[in-house]
């Protein structure tokens, strides 16, 4: 997470350019959190856009009780939680055959590789979706958004010690789930995503 105070101040004064810069800085984090929840790029983008529109409307009320990043991630978690519950009620569990699952973010893999990796991603997303909510959130924020322990503690409003133990339990839970549902962990991808992580 970054220090956004200057941009934030300008955006609060109605500066659209400053707000656009804030969007650029945080779009990856917000989008990936939403994508981790939904598994569907189109829905994730809708949620992420809704969050930023809500942020713009709420900027005058934001007094810096927490950092902008913390506030933004909390808003996103709330939006995702609402969306996820509605969708789960409406559609049931995620399907492995869903054509709208996230694309493979990589350079020109062969058709066979695409099929295999799409299946792997679908298995992983399904396993993530089936984790208890607090395990799912902390894994996405750590692994996809790259938040460190201190940032996780702020966003989730828990102690750093709890972050450490919750992450360990979440990883163990996801690993156990994957072991019972296939051989995903026997064969990690040899060519991981190109530059996909936030530092």
């Amino acid at each position: 997470m970054r220090d956004d105070r200057l941009l934030l101040k300008q955006a609060q004064a109605g500066d659209l350019k400053a707000f656009e810069a804030l969007i650029q800085l945080h779009s990856h984090g917000v989008y990936n959190l939403a994508l981790g929840y939904t598994g569907r790029p189109h829905e994730a983008e809708e949620i992420a856009q809704t969050v930023f529109v809500k942020v713009w409307k709420a900027l005058p009320q934001f007094r810096g009780g927490s950092s902008f990043s913390t506030w933004l991630y909390r808003l996103t978690i709330n939006a995702c939680t609402d969306h996820y519950r509605q969708e789960k009620k409406r559609r049931g569990d995620l399907s492995l055959d869903d054509p709208d699952l996230a694309p493979i973010p990589d350079t020109a893999p062969s058709p066979e590789e695409i099929v295999i990796r799409r299946e792997e991603q679908a298995i992983l997303r399904k396993a993530l979706a089936e984790l208890p909510e607090q395990h799912r959130i902390i894994l996405i924020l750590r692994e996809l958004d790259g938040l460190d322990y201190k940032e996780l503690a702020q966003v989730l409003d828990i102690e750093v010690g709890t972050v450490k133990s919750r992450l360990a339990r979440a990883r163990r839970a996801l690993r156990d789930k994957l072991l019972t549902e296939g051989n995903l962990l026997e064969d990690p991808p040899s060519n991981p995503v190109k530059g996909g992580m936030v530092p």
Partner: protein, 220 residues
């Protein structure tokens, strides 16, 4: 030797670069003795690689799509932001006029009634002094999103006001402890004091009975 449960936590911390040298030695010692934890170590490393591969970027027009949805502040919305106790009294008066207009046999048409939203009508009255033609023009200029429900006739109960405030705080992603509320002497709004769990700062919230609008004031 450390337990397997402790080992699990240390393996996770090592993946995050959060392992002390002392813990690294304890972990190494345990892994040499425990095949189950060595398997867990391999699995967690593979799992991390798989999870990172899920990371992706939004579309190129992501920011422009958001910007196209934004409302740039207008005089009308500025008036709403500045709404204070006197404006609330004006709101209440305007609402009474509105209700009379709706109930009167000479009151507005169906279209007028449908567009008489509580949140904006008082602001319009504040700006225009309630001239019907100007009110109508302002009502027509409103977007669908700004529309609020019709005003309640009875003041909100403390529970109702508290619920509105809690929903607002959830919506804003804020984590605050809320103290019991006070109803204003004219029964037009509830005041709640809340404290940030992050910083300990105190905030004052007003929840307006007429439209459920929540206003935030930071206490210096």
């Amino acid at each position: 030797m450390i337990s397997c449960e402790h080992c699990e936590e240390l393996l996770s911390a090592r993946l995050d670069g959060e392992l002390s040298q002392e813990d690294a030695l304890l972990l190494k010692e345990h892994l040499e003795q425990c095949p189950d934890c060595r398997k867990l170590d391999r699995d967690l490393t593979a799992l991390r690689t798989h999870l990172k591969a899920l990371s992706s970027q939004p579309s190129e027009d992501f920011a422009s799509a958001i910007l196209s949805q934004l409302e740039v502040p207008t005089m009308q919305s500025e008036n709403k932001k500045k709404k204070g106790p006197w404006a609330v009294i004006a709101c209440a008066a305007a609402a009474v006029v509105l209700m009379v207009a709706v109930l009167s046999p000479f009151g507005g048409s169906e279209g007028d009634t449908a567009s008489a939203e509580a949140g904006e009508a008082p602001a319009s009255a504040d700006v225009t002094g309630g001239a019907p033609a100007e009110d109508k023009a302002l009502e027509e200029s409103r977007t669908e999103e700004e529309a609020d429900p019709l005003p309640p006739i009875e003041p909100l109960t403390e529970q109702e006001a508290l619920k509105l405030l809690q929903n607002y705080l959830i919506d804003m992603g804020l984590s605050l402890d809320i103290e019991p509320g006070d109803l204003s002497p004219d029964e037009s709004f509830w005041s709640f004091t809340a404290r940030s769990k992050d910083t300990g700062e105190r905030y004052l919230y007003s929840v307006y009975c007429i439209d459920g609008f929540v206003e935030e004031i930071m206490i210096p």
